[in-house]
């Protein structure tokens, strides 16, 4: 579309205008899609119609990696260059792209780790790519790789396609919602509290308490938000659920809304997850047509509707308050907490925000009943859990197990052990923001309490495996690059610390470490951990600090 032709933009803006600033990200996405980038006159029109100050439009465009002020080639491809894809050959793949007329974005983890190396070409996810001409059919279409001891959260997954509404209902879907609509909201909250469910996004906050807080808070409006901004390197569980079991997530969200008295919900899905976004949008349309959403949910007097939103390339928006800012049409800066979302969330109103996997647990709990749900897992970590196993194992994939199985069971029995001819060097637990485990940790049980005792974070369920052939300094550098790229820049420790951490690791990875580097790295790391504003900065040095403890010699300088 030539930039001079603003008529298609105006058609989009006309629909969005009534939302004002809250429609800024959708408008910018539309512009980026129409023009391939966001030229000045287009940005001007968007600001004018949505009544957003122009400088702030500029600020928002610049914050999100998927928006660009500069023109791009017709074909834009995103190549994942995080550890797992790099180990699978993404660097070699990148080299072959130089002679092709494509615009290449080196993207942070695309959430396709079980299909590494992965790319996105013109919105299509492709895995196991090999050097060659870039088309939408390069490599393979990723198909979910499931395994595990149980299939509760993933019961509708594994088909390689989305479960439709009728299918979902035929399998017992929306029965939980139907039941819930007959209960008083506080009883629903009581059930969730009794189940012992805690958030699966990484922070492990008790879900029932969160709901109770928002239910009790006063506000003219309340919101529920599904956090589908999955971007922790090594994580792909939420993508699989959204792509294949969208109604399972939606049902959880509707129940949450009923429990706290919200009439509006948002599904915020990572910008790179085109397929999940489309799938969830179709599911919401189906649910609306089926009466599961709308002025009278399933004939009750409960009114609720959902808007599906796309992120735009900012890992930090996985942080709940940054995510609110993104929905509100702002730069994704995390807010100072307190106040917490339960009282001051989206648009300043009481809000419950839950991770995709968390919400998928909700209908399960209400269907199984608390007792049966709690019979899975351990006393302190009840229920099923998804683990994203990637890297140097025989069978990378998404594994569902009850809490309490050992790491060894997950890696050896389920994922087939270390790839042939190699042995385990390290396991990165919890993703980029995680910490390393080694051979000696293999018999640790996968539960919150056991992992905490072993000094390992459960995080979002990432289990990234490295064999003895991998240079951990290169892995750490890639993690550091990721954080430097994704730091929002709000607080100084993270804004500068992620940059300095990357610079020092560049030196170390290149074999040119200075004598002072290890101490500097440690100081920068602890300063970020202690003093950063949000979880991103607080965990940006987590893997580095754990490596410093485990393998100090890696960092020795001359």
């Amino acid at each position: 579309m030539p930039e001079s032709d603003l008529s298609p933009l105006h058609a989009v803006l006309e629909e969005l205008a009534s939302q004002g600033r809250a429609a800024l990200l959708p408008a910018l996405h539309a512009a980026q899609d129409l023009y391939g980038h966001i030229p000045e006159p287009v940005a001007f029109e968007i600001g004018r119609v949505l009544r957003v100050p122009l400088a702030e439009v500029h600020g928002v465009i610049d914050f999100y990696a998927l928006f660009s002020r500069e023109p791009a080639a017709k074909t834009v491809i995103q190549v994942c260059n995080d550890p797992v894809c790099a180990m699978a050959g993404s660097e070699e793949f990148l080299k072959t792209l130089r002679r092709q007329n494509v615009t290449v974005h080196q993207a942070p983890c695309l959430g396709l780790c079980e299909h590494a190396p992965a790319i996105i070409v013109r919105e299509a996810q492709r895995g196991h790519v090999k050097p060659g001409k870039i088309t939408e059919t390069i490599g393979e279409a990723p198909r979910s790789l499931l395994g595990g001891d149980i299939a509760l959260l993933t019961r509708n997954c594994g088909t390689g396609r989305a479960t439709a509404l009728l299918e979902y209902e035929a399998a017992g879907g929306y029965l939980a919602l139907r039941k819930v609509l007959t209960l008083p909201p506080d009883q629903v909250i009581a059930e969730i509290k009794a189940s012992g469910l805690v958030g699966r996004g990484g922070a492990a906050f008790p879900t029932g308490l969160k709901w109770e807080g928002a239910a009790k808070a006063t506000g003219e409006r309340k919101f529920v938000v599904c956090n589908g901004d999955e971007a922790e390197p090594g994580t792909f569980k939420d993508r699989v659920i959204m792509e294949e079991d969208p109604h399972g997530v939606l049902e959880g969200l509707i129940i949450a809304a009923y429990a706290i008295g919200a009439n509006k919900g948002y599904l915020f899905i990572r910008g790179e997850y085109h397929r999940a976004f489309k799938t969830m949008a179709v599911a919401v349309a189906e649910a609306r047509a089926g009466g599961h959403l709308g002025a009278s949910v399933l004939g009750s007097d409960f009114a609720f509707d959902v808007e599906v939103r796309r992120g735009a390339g900012a890992y930090v928006c996985g942080e709940e308050t940054a995510l609110f800012e993104a929905i509100e049409g702002k730069r994704g800066f995390p807010r100072v907490k307190p106040p917490f979302p339960t009282t001051h969330g989206l648009f300043g109103m009481p809000t419950v925000i839950n991770n995709v996997e968390t919400l998928r647990n909700v209908p399960l709990i209400l269907t199984l009943g608390t007792a049966r749900y709690r019979s899975l897992g351990t006393e302190k970590s009840p229920g099923p859990k998804l683990f994203c196993v990637s890297g140097d194992v025989a069978r990378p994939g998404l594994y569902e197990v009850p809490f309490g199985v050992t790491i060894r069971h997950l890696l050896e029995d389920l994922a087939g052990g270390i790839r042939k001819g190699h042995r385990l060097q390290a396991i990165l637990f919890g993703g980029a923001a995680g910490a390393f485990a080694t051979e000696k940790d293999l018999d640790v049980r996968l539960s919150f309490e056991d992992l905490r005792a072993a000094g390992l974070p459960l995080g979002s369920g990432v289990v990234m495996v490295f064999d003895e052939s991998r240079d951990l300094r290169d892995i750490l550098l890639r993690l550091a690059r990721f954080f430097a790229h994704e730091s929002c820049g709000k607080c100084y420790p993270c804004q500068i610390g992620t940059q300095r951490q990357m610079e020092i690791l560049e030196r170390i990875a290149a074999g040119g470490a200075l004598l002072s580097d290890a101490a500097c790295l440690s100081d920068v790391g602890w300063t970020m951990t202690d003093a950063s504003l949000c979880g991103l900065g607080q965990t940006a040095a987590s893997a580095v600090i754990s490596a410093l403890k485990l393998w100090p010699r890696l960092f020795e300088g001359r």
Partner: protein, 216 residues
């Protein structure tokens, strides 16, 4: 009036009204908690983290400029952990921007024994000076991203919204819409931004010309 909250700061018993920040409660008790981005007349955003303190029971350090006092709270403002964070933040800042016109930050560096050369080979933010209007210059090589200028241009004072951020993370810079020269923006040249800039990044053009020996 709500009953005052009782807490201790560095073992000193302090009483403060609910809703008071730790920073203000300490100030009233004669305890100085250092700040950089904080300004009494701007929204506090807890950016610089120089004001972090240790609060018993808190996993991370707590920014005193935005954290409120609570009953029975025990605050320590000079622990080793606190001092390490402050010193490192100062060192990182000095490795990033030109602090030559920020005497208050330089004084803090001295106080915390911060070494401006701690990070050899560190990338500096060093964009060229912007001289695009008759009233003030913008030298972002001195910009510490305290946000004050953006905020006073917005709802902290002027509601003009001429400036915002460009890029993100370490590479964040203050910018106009598509880097338009200031006269082509909504800027009303009130200079509220110049008034709150702590490092000389924003400066009246006459002051700058005087320094350059170019003032007629």
């Amino acid at each position: 009036m709500d009953t005052p909250v009782q807490l201790t700061i560095d073992d000193q018993a302090v009483s403060a009204a609910p809703g008071t920040t730790i920073h203000k409660a300490a100030r009233a008790a004669g305890i100085v908690i250092p700040t950089i981005c904080y300004h009494d007349y701007c929204t506090a955003n807890a950016l610089c983290r120089i004001c972090v303190v240790e609060v018993e029971g808190s996993r991370t350090l707590v920014p005193a400029c935005v954290a409120f006092v609570a009953e029975g709270m025990r605050v320590r403002t000079q622990t080793e952990r606190v001092r390490r964070a402050r010193k490192n933040i100062l060192e990182m800042l000095a490795s990033t921007v030109d602090l030559s016109e920020a005497p208050e930050i330089l004084a803090l560096m001295k106080e915390y024994g911060a070494d401006a050369q701690r990070f050899p080979g560190a990338l500096k933010r060093d964009p060229p000076l912007v001289d695009d209007n008759p009233m003030y210059i913008r030298d972002y090589a001195k910009c510490i991203l305290c946000w004050r200028c953006v905020q006073v241009c917005a709802s902290d004072a002027q509601y003009t919204y001429a400036i915002n951020f460009e890029k993100r993370g370490f590479h964040t810079q203050i910018s106009t819409f598509f880097q338009r020269p200031m006269p082509l923006t909504t800027c009303v040249f009130c200079g509220q931004c110049v008034g709150v800039c702590p490092t000389g990044a924003l400066k009246s053009r006459r002051a700058w010309l005087l320094e350059q020996g170019m003032l007629e």
